[in-house]
Homo-oligomer: 113 residues x 2
Amino acid sequence: MLESEAVVPCCPPLTERTLTAAEAERTAAMFKALSDPVRLRLFSAVASAPGGEACVCDISDVGVSQPTVSHHLKKLKEAGLLASERRGTWVYYRVEPSVLAGMGRLLTGAAPA
Amino acid sequence: MLESEAVVPCCPPLTERTLTAAEAERTAAMFKALSDPVRLRLFSAVASAPGGEACVCDISDVGVSQPTVSHHLKKLKEAGLLASERRGTWVYYRVEPSVLAGMGRLLTGAAPA
DNA sequence: GTGTTGGTTCGATGTGTGTCAACATAAATG
DNA sequence: CATTTATGTTGACACACATCGAACCAACAC
């Protein structure tokens, strides 16, 4: 199981040149992780949570069963977008810091302020 | 056929709050359009082309059959990421201007320089 | 008109994926 | 130990999707 193999320092901005097949493969994997409505809601719930992290119990109200939530969180983790840590009873997820900036740079070709 | 219905002024940054179901649906559709390696190569080919546009004949060398290229370009168009125009013999695709900035803002929460 | 080149649409097919119910694991609590 | 609560995993199923060849349309040349 290959998890969170550095997805950030991956590829040039989309406006720079045509991506190679390998670059496209890696970049597509990140977009694919965010291409499902449920995953997107889960991700934004974590990303917007105070402290940058949230326990599953706080974000699992997205209209699907709990196993499905777990499945989607796993996918986000495999894509390198989220990291998880168990603290006692609950499991907390947080956003991998550099990921958002990296994907933003991919689209805009510039670092945000 | 609903094409390019304003996708840009759609949704708040992912870090702001948990997206609503409707917001997640719309945002996921844009990410999904970029979640395929072939589409990503086609999109970057158009986005990086001089003048911001390219004819199909210039970008269709991505390792799949030409009908498949056409299929993917159609999807990108339906997602509001590309626009097409026929000029004589050839069909030209160009990037919808505000889309990249809009998606970048979605991820970083800030406008690029 | 016929022919040729560029592009899209149409079926068909195989693979991928989102979903849930059922089961399994992990930690706290009694 | 048994029980309860919180997550994760497995297996199965239905639907979506990427791909192709073949048929089709659009513009140009003859």
